[in-house]
């Protein structure tokens, strides 16, 4: 036991000689073990993490590319279908958008008015002034809207009409008869012709009026004559 101690003593001295300066963590090989662990275990783990990250990001990138290709495939299928079956609609859409950009909505609306014609008659006689006279009895007020044939889609040509191309709008919203009782209204459509008719019985002295919307008064040429705030025609029952 003593011999062993003696043998160990100088060796321990050698070890102490090689010990680092005081305060260093490498004393007694602890730091070395940590560093070795870091290298022997950390390096492979780092490599593993690197290749895993690389593989995953590669996969994600490929997936994004594949998704973009899928979108393109869908677009191609749609375009091929459109070319075969849907060109009329696409052409119309192009014309509608292009005409609006080319002329501007205001100018286009004004320009398209040339395709529309309006005629207001009372008992068959055209109304061209701010008052009309009718005999007592049955009175028929009729508004005719005629569209001239043209190649534009309705969304373009319709802008020039009193309805402004609005499919929810009706002629009866633009022309009303007031002061009469038992007014029967009917609206018929035949191709490019639309007729709105009001029929009622009038008695002498009735205060009847035909109220027009400003756009309709303008289309009838009455606004130009009586001003753009003109909208009422007086009906005198004689």
């Amino acid at each position: 036991m003593n011999r062993k101690k003696r043998e160990n003593a100088p060796q321990e001295e050698v070890f102490m000689e090689s010990a680092p300066p005081q305060g260093n963590d490498f004393s007694a090989g602890r730091g070395g073990r940590i560093a070795a662990k870091a290298i022997l275990l950390g390096l492979p783990l780092l490599l593993c993490a690197g290749v895993i990250i690389g593989a995953v990001s590669q996969g994600l990138y490929n997936r994004a590319l594949e998704e973009s290709n899928q979108t393109l495939r869908q677009q191609i299928i749609k375009k091929e279908y459109d070319l075969q079956n849907n060109m009329d609609s696409l052409n119309d859409e192009f014309v509608i958008a292009s005409m609006k950009t080319l002329f501007g909505l205001g100018n286009l609306t004004y320009d398209m008015r040339r395709y529309w014609n309006y005629e207001l008659t009372v008992n068959g006689a055209a109304v061209s002034g701010d008052r009309v006279s009718v005999p007592a009895g049955t009175v028929t007020v009729s508004l005719k809207q005629t569209q001239k044939a043209n190649s534009f889609p309705y969304e373009v040509a319709g802008l020039g009409s009193t309805l402004g191309g609005d499919s929810d709008d009706k002629l009866s919203y633009h022309c009303k008869v007031t002061g009469a009782s038992g007014v029967e209204a009917s609206e018929t459509e035949d191709g490019l012709l639309t007729v709105l008719t009001y029929t009622f019985a009038a008695q002498k002295g009735d205060a009847l009026e035909i109220h027009l919307s400003y756009p309709l008064a303008d289309q009838l040429g009455l606004a130009e004559k009586y001003g753009y705030d003109f909208n009422t025609i007086a009906v005198n029952v004689a």
Binding site: Q11, P21, F26, G54, G59, L65, N69, V95, L102
Partner: protein, 266 residues
């Protein structure tokens, strides 16, 4: 009495250190700094100690890591090749998509042109006026844009460029026939300059300049070149009012004075 077996010296790595340090030559020790030397020796101790104490587990760890790394590299390589295939496929799809888009667009434009030609047959001025919104005009003297009346030229050759350009939107929207009809510079053909000559006047006293007209993808360019002007020469180009307005000129003419001294200085 049976003695308790003596404990091994403190730890494996102390022992290892003793063994490994003994035969180490003195010179090698001196090569390291006081800090690096224990680091290296400590590392050596640590490595051997770890290998001794956890040999089998370490081996297993390395096998697993190796497998993971190899599989990862395989996946990356496979992904790389797949990316090439997907990218190639994408390019084919993209060009196919563009071709179809182009086909649809050309049909749209043909249809639009047909309608415009038919509906504005009796009122071409309205269509031209609308299309003109997409045209712009500019004038440059010796490559310098101008809107003023008087310009100085340091160069003996005075080059006036008058340009008509159709905007990108106009090119996208308008059929070529409508663009051509709306062009003020198109005249009777690409080489016809009679319309431009009508719109512009040059000094009667001067020799007629050399006028060239070039068609670009987005319009036309007229280049008017006065060669070999003398010092103090004044070249006056007059423009019709409509052209002067479109060019944004203050007056319907531009005076260009050849300033010889500036040329000499240069």
């Amino acid at each position: 009495m049976r003695q308790k077996p003596k404990k091994e010296p403190r730890s494996h790595y102390i022992k290892e250190a003793q063994e490994t340090e003994k035969p180490e030559p003195q010179e090698e020790k001196e090569e390291f700094s006081s800090f690096a030397y224990p680091v290296v020796t400590g590392l050596k101790e640590g490595v051997s100690c770890l290998i001794q104490s956890a040999g089998k587990r370490l081996l297993l760890f390395y096998i697993i890591c190796g497998l993971v790394i190899l599989s990862g590299i395989g996946a990356v390589a496979a992904g790389f090749f797949a990316r090439g295939r997907i990218t190639g496929e994408g390019e084919t799809l993209l060009s196919q998509n563009r071709r179809l888009e182009q086909e649809i667009r050309s049909q749209n434009l043909a249809y639009f042109n047909e309608i415009l030609q038919k509906e504005y047959k009796d009122a071409p001025a309205g269509l031209k006026a609308a299309a003109q919104r997409f045209f712009s005009y500019s004038v440059r003297v010796n490559n310098t844009p101008t809107s003023g009346v008087t310009m100085f030229s340091a160069s003996r050759n005075i080059v006036v460029t008058v340009e008509e350009t159709v905007s990108d939107e106009g090119q996208r929207l308008l059929p070529q026939e409508v663009i051509d009809d709306a062009s003020n510079f198109r005249g009777g053909g690409d080489t016809d300059i009679s319309q431009m000559n009508k719109a512009m006047t040059v000094d009667a006293t001067r020799e007629m300049p050399k006028i060239t007209k070039v068609k670009k993808s987005d319009g036309y360019v007229y280049t008017i070149t006065y060669e070999a002007a003398s010092a103090g020469d004044v070249v006056t180009i007059g423009f019709e009012t409509w052209l002067a307005t479109k060019l944004g000129l203050e007056e319907p003419y531009i005076e260009i004075i050849f300033n010889a001294s500036e040329e000499a200085e240069e």
